[in-house]
Symmetry: C2
Subunit: 332 residues, 2 copies
């Protein structure tokens, strides 16, 4: 690590610590994206996989494996697996999100995009499946099969919960586990399993990834109402798209008759008018639900840090602690 | 088997022979379709899985396992796996097919359907993945991972080959292997692998499924131009949808300048007018490509039957021979 460690962010320090392994993961991803028979596949995936995201999920797998003393080759396969699953999920989310955005305004090339997104996503799932089979670990396959089911179930649940005022905090948590935490926890867990660590450490890795993922998603949903410099989202996007996230779910639970009617009209029926976002913000402020949501995110971050206790004292463990702080730093 | 065996079709005789096992498969499918958290999932899948199709693919797995003397429980898991993969593929095909059909005419509930189809398809893939992990056989996982990749690759290839007059017979075969034969061959293969048969028998099972699948798809594409009582398709659907199937690919390869211009206009550019189907049929007749296609389908059926030679002499083997005849019976 360089002298200006203090100036870098935790995920950047992790990236530095895991640079060699990450290079191998990127090489494997490029190799397995290729399709001899269907050159469109790498075209579609390249801009997603190569776009230079934070690569947080594969890094978590590498971090868990390295922290647990693994010295074999398969953490690289598993990290690539996790990134492929993530990319496939993004491709399929595109179809779902584009579909809802385009109501009433069809665009010419959207159909082609939908089709490519579905099929190339399927291809990446299949490729991730081949990669994990190569590890030869049935335990790893079991974990990733279960994570895949949780992700898909969460996505369907989100669809049916959308714009439904009966959505509870428990359902919200289930959706969040599916869309974000399931892959975080599986990414950590398989890193430990491939390293052959004890059950309590596998559980610890799972618990860290789970809590970090939940914190991550709650922060994202909170920032949608608080605004931020970095997300590129406008305040109120979720409100306009009638998504029920934690701040609104909490407010609906405490609504009086008039507020209830407001949520019915704007979220359930989707009849929004100018000034409605301001009214929504005023209701959230009245019940202090942004603060309650913030407190919950912080609690999940603390839970993530506490989960790390059974793991070996290792520089990477410290970085994971800092990562849990960093995830909530924007709302602290 | 009952006295009127001669009056039943081969897949019905297989269904009778495998009735007990098939009952277990149906039970497992119903059990694993359920979703505690997202009740929409069984709603969407039920009409597909319960619709009472021929269940040809799971039956092939059961047939292979039973013919190879398997007496464990996992052929049932694998048969359900194969049916889930097939159903997931159908759901995703819906998105692709609906997309192309709806150009210029959006319908109100299509967006919702697309979304459900994508996500519930993903859920079934994940469920199938869990089922195969339960068998504890890495070899089986490897076969199904590779089949999944071939299927997805074939689907993307079909997309990019669509309406492209440069499509060769080799590309057509690749697409057919992906959309049909890959799951047929994997379904047979895993039945033998779980039974622990020798490599030459595993190869024989694969070869039978592959050839049967190719024959099956070529017959389907041929009937689109020949017409039939049973398919529910109209003559010329593929022509109208600008799909390049074997009869047209063969005709394009032999086209003179005028015919080439016709295919360019009707298939590549999609500018079709009244009377074009009749012209297309006349060109196919001129080059006798329906007959050439028929001969190819019959050859694949023969190849399927020949592949069965290394397998044990068993009533099921005879039914599989009859099945290969039956697949091409409508064009014989």
């Amino acid at each position: 690590m360089s002298l200006d460690t203090a100036a870098t962010k935790p995920h950047e320090r992790l990236a530095t610590e895991l640079a060699t392994e990450m290079e191998a993961v990127n090489g494997l991803i490029r190799e397995r994206m290729a399709s001899e028979h269907a050159p469109r596949i790498p075209e579609v995936t390249a801009h997603l996989v190569e776009a230079g995201g934070k690569r947080l999920r594969p890094m978590m797998t590498l971090a868990a494996a390295k922290m647990c003393g693994y010295d074999g080759p398969y953490h690289v396969h598993l990290a690539a697996t996790v990134e492929f699953i993530h990319t496939a999920t993004l491709l399929h989310d595109d179809v779902v999100d584009e579909s809802s955005q385009r109501r009433g305004r069809p665009t010419a090339n959207l159909l082609w995009d939908n089709t490519s997104s579905v099929l190339v996503g399927d291809y990446l799932f299949a490729r991730s499946f081949q990669l994990m089979v190569e590890t030869g670990s049935l335990r790893v396959l079991d974990i990733l099969a279960n994570a895949s089911a949780t992700i898909a179930e969460g996505e369907v649940l989100q669809l049916t919960a959308a714009s439904n005022l009966a959505t509870t905090e428990a359902i919200y948590l289930q959706v969040v586990r599916g869309k974000t935490a399931a892959l975080f926890s599986a990414a950590m867990e398989v890193g430990g399993v491939i390293a052959g660590v004890s059950e309590d450490r596998v559980k610890a890795l799972y618990a860290y990834g789970d809590a970090l993922g939940v914190a991550f998603q709650i922060v994202d949903d909170l920032l949608d109402y608080r605004g931020t410099d970095a997300t590129g989202k406008n305040v109120g996007d979720d409100f306009r798209e009638r998504k029920l996230t934690l701040p609104v779910i909490k407010a609906v639970a405490m609504a009086d008759a008039e507020e209830r009617a407001f949520w019915e009209r704007t979220i359930a029926k989707g009849k929004q008018a100018s000034g409605d976002l301001e009214t929504a913000m005023a209701i959230l402020a009245r019940h202090d639900t942004l603060e309650a949501t913030r407190v919950e995110a912080l609690a999940w971050s603390e839970k993530a840090k506490a989960a790390l206790a059974p793991l070996p004292d290792h520089p990477i463990r410290s970085m994971l602690v800092e990562l849990a702080d960093y995830v909530v730093a924007r709302i602290s």
